[in-house]
């Protein structure tokens, strides 16, 4: 029963990977990585039940929490970059 969902998830991960490789702007890539992270959490949860070991759900929980941090770090990186170019353009404050 879980095989179909796993297959759909892995195919979508491939599509997200394609977007991360192709995406013309950096935001496309960040979007792709975020989507990839969510799909990974779902994949981990489904495979846990596919393999029949419900104790392994901790991994999915851990990654659901950590995925958020990665995306925010990237956005903080952009914000500081934008601020850098901005203050460089306006001269040293």
């Amino acid at each position: 029963m879980y095989h179909a969902v796993t297959f759909a998830l892995i195919v979508t991960m491939a599509l997200a990977l394609l977007r991360a490789v192709l995406g013309p702007s950096v935001y496309d890539r960040v979007l792709a990585v975020n989507m990839f992270g969510t799909k990974t959490v779902l994949l981990l949860a489904v495979i846990t039940f596919l393999l029949g070991r419900p104790d392994f759900l901790d991994l999915a929980l851990a990654y659901a929490l950590i995925n958020f941090i990665g995306v925010l770090a990237v956005l903080e990186f952009f914000r500081s970059r934008a601020k850098q170019t901005q203050s460089g353009a306006n001269g040293n404050r």
Partner: protein
């Protein structure tokens, strides 16, 4: 059927690795490295290696991305032109690949019950864990008790990496001009992530401690827990500004954590000697040897977690103070 999924994931990893190598934009490479770590973690999970998968997901996909971005903020975003003499490198790598592939022909198949490792050492570990240590997670038993000396070496590797980075980047790099907390100033656009982050941070910390102490019963342990707790503090630093994070856990405390964890581990070993056993012999830590083993594993995992947290946070602050991350 899991073999098919595994092969599919490995193919995706191959594509990702190829894309990482070929792209000249380092930011793209960092993003793809995060995806690579996730694929690797999923693969480990398919192979039933839950502890390794948890470590890979927590450290490789979470913390490493943040640290790479911190490093990228200090340097250029495009890679410099590669050196010209790459033909020799290509030959060396190809020969190595062929040698490794040839070597895999002799390996036993995955989960083959007749493999040598399943005849001698693995049954012994399984039985001795049940008799002498009595915890369900044999991986933690092997890591903490049977191969405790190796794990001591690993903690010291992490410790050395931490002080190495601190030597290179400096502990208190330039009195940082007291930048106002930008995230707290009028940027209303970031209100929602801040609020959600504030709700999440206690849960991440709680989960980190759960993983730390639950390592004997399920996937978990010191390395993973250290990464998760560090991730929570890094989230706080990203949302509320680095200065506030430094007020919560000042640099001196972080240095103390780095050394304290390794010291705790070594101290458990020395206490074993003082109580009459060998170095890192946990059976003498309590009147009941089984309880002593469990106590010993608990203490050394705590030491590992403390050191890993301290190191990851120190490296993050070292990067963040240096640039304008």
């Amino acid at each position: 059927m899991t073999i098919v999924f595994g092969v599919f994931l490995l193919t995706l990893m191959l594509i990702t690795a190829f894309a990482i190598v070929r792209t000249p934009n380092l930011f793209v490479a960092v993003m793809l490295t995060g995806i690579f770590s996730l694929l690797l973690a999923s693969n480990f999970f398919l192979l039933d290696a839950a502890d390794v998968a948890l470590t890979e997901a927590a450290i490789g996909a979470g913390i490493s991305t943040v640290l790479f971005l911190g490093a990228l903020a200090l340097t250029a975003e495009r890679e410099t032109a590669p050196s010209s003499n790459r033909f020799i490198a290509l030959v060396v790598v190809s020969v190595t690949i062929l040698a490794v592939v040839y070597a895999t022909f002799d390996k036993p198949r995955f989960a083959d019950p007749a493999a040598p490792v399943h005849q001698h050492i693995a049954p012994w570990y399984l039985e001795t864990t049940r008799d002498a240590i009595d915890i369900p997670n044999v991986v933690t038993a092997v890591l903490g008790s049977f191969r405790g000396y190796d794990t001591l070496g690993e903690v010291f590797v992490v410790y050395t990496a931490g002080i190495g980075v601190l030597f290179l980047l400096g502990k208190n790099t330039g009195r940082r001009r007291d930048k106002p907390d930008d995230a707290a100033r009028g940027l209303r656009h970031y209100l929602i992530p801040r609020m959600v982050g504030r709700m999440l941070i206690p849960f991440i910390l709680l989960f980190g401690f759960y993983v730390q102490f639950h390592g004997e019963y399920g996937p978990g342990g010191g390395f993973q827990a250290g990464a998760i707790v560090a991730a929570a503090i890094i989230l706080y630093a990203l949302l509320e500004g680095e200065n506030r994070a430094l007020k919560v856990l000042p640099r001196g405390l972080l240095t103390g954590l780095i050394a304290g964890g390794a010291l705790l581990y070594g101290a458990v070993g020395v206490v074993g000697i003082l109580l009459g056993g060998n170095f890192l012999d946990y059976s003498v830590l309590s009147s009941d040897p089984v309880l002593g083993q469990q106590l010993g594993i608990l203490l050394i995992e705590a030491g590992v977690g403390i050191t890993v947290t301290g190191v990851l946070l120190s490296i993050f602050h070292a990067f963040a103070a240096r640039g304008r991350f």
